[in-house]
Assembly symmetry: C2
Homo-oligomer: 283 residues x 2
């Protein structure tokens, strides 16, 4: 495995390769990231993992300063997983001048966008830049960051990027808590409470699947239960999988998404669901 | 020369070519465009000219509807110039879905940006899309659209696009009017008046070169003279060539830019200038 820090080194390392699969990360890797690398390997070309904590996607007061930087441990995990190249640029390599050009994505006021102004513009901008630096044939993203994945798929289409996005299911701990670098911020009491977020999402998803259609009531009941257990809930919302907007009558494929805080730690999670389609009357 | 209308045909036509030079146009070609094609040919690789009247860069009330579409004549000129491929997509090929992702450029409230809200976001967005469709090694732009060229160079750097931008001097008629598709809108009386715009820019540039430093006075005097001859002046402004902002004391390289209307026709032009540097005291 090669570790490179500049675009020039990366281009040299990739010379002669016309296809690569990119796994963009912010480091502090866990099994969820390794699953992304394994998904990338199924594409049958060299795998590049990028490690870059992107200042542009953090708001004032967010955890940019103490976001965990663990490059040596990350590289050990990646090497063990059979990753080919690690691209770990520093901030001046990615932003040698003020980034006055940004990607302006839609849904900026929806879901996490409403609580993290500028976050998705920062994500889309850095991902576009990484795409142009690495020029991969494939790029792999997890479903845990559902709104991010939705936006990156749309950006790839709308900017005509010749890249195929591969998606991965969320990896979970034994108690179903979604794996996340931010889980490391939780106290042991918070860690014990944390699985309730997914449990409530699942409860809403099951109710929808079985035919309940009062979205607002389901959302409010789950939000209340979380609050009773000490959560501050940014949102818990049923959305159309096609638009990420509130479902219309025509939508039968939904995703239930939530962001909520335990103490200072903000966790997000989601679950896809849909109304069970009626059995077709022919075999 | 091949004429293609879709990205799929274009990719097929380019199969095996790893380097091309792109000349993006909106058609209605004149000698200024052909000079861009000739510049592209000096790069020594196949030349792709794109022809696309981009709705995203026209504001309400602008000339999108009657912007001249002259594909057959354009193709004849391009073939004559030795262009290799013409890429002329229709609107649904470029925008198969609503373009909810846009490039947000800086300087949106400066110069033409102040008078054409959303124009440069539309330009940058379509150029990024064309870059991704064609994936050229080089792209050629004229200096007549100076703010556009400035922004596209910055976008290319800041989005890490692996494309070299080549620039061309403005082509002028014998009376120094900058060649432009929009000159065709001018009545014969307006056409006779039109060279005054560049004459005033030149007057400001000459004054600056000879040491005058009261920018505001020069701008106001030239603006007044244009108004006296029936022009409506959007702006006439001395700017730093490095920033396109009003010059600071440190700036010694300037560009004088103007946009002004004769009747319903809006013309733009510019001229680069700088203070003559003092002769160095050694040979």
């Amino acid at each position: 495995m090669r570790l490179v820090h500049s675009v020039a080194e990366l281009r040299q390392a990739l010379a002669g390769e016309d296809r690569t699969a990119l796994v963009p990360t912010m480091g502090n890797l866990h099994a969820g990231h390794i699953a992304l690398v394994e998904r990338a390997q199924t594409a049958g070309c060299p795998v590049v993992a990028s490690i870059f904590v992107n200042p542009l996607q953090f708001g004032p007061g967010e955890d940019l300063q103490h976001y965990p930087r663990t490059l040596a441990a990350d590289c050990a995990q990646l090497e063990n997983a059979g990753c080919d190249i690690v691209f770990a640029p520093d901030v001046t390599e990615v932003y040698p001048e003020p980034q006055t050009f940004q990607v302006q994505p839609p849904l900026a006021d929806e879901l996490c966008g409403a609580f993290r102004p500028g976050h998705f513009a920062g994500v889309c901008t850095v991902v576009l830049k990484l795409f142009e630096m690495v020029r991969p044939r494939y790029a792999v993203f997890g479903k845990k960051d559902y709104q991010q994945l939705f936006l990156l798929k749309a950006m790839t289409r709308q900017f005509n990027l010749d890249i195929e996005l591969l998606e991965c299911e969320t990896l979970r701990a034994e108690d179903d808590l979604a794996l996340s670098s931010r889980n490391g911020y939780l106290s042991s009491a918070e860690r014990a409470e944390a699985p309730r977020l997914y449990a409530e999402l699942k409860r809403v998803a099951d109710a929808l699947r079985s035919g309940t259609s009062n979205f607002a009531e389901l959302e409010a009941a789950s939000t209340d239960r979380l609050k009773q257990h000490g959560w501050q809930v940014d949102y818990l919302s049923v959305r159309s999988r096609n638009t990420l907007l509130p479902p219309t009558a025509a939508d039968q494929e939904w995703v239930v998404l939530a962001a909520a805080r335990l103490g200072a730690t903000r966790l997000i999670d989601n679950i896809e669901t849909g109304r069970a389609t009626a059995q077709k009357p022919w075999p």
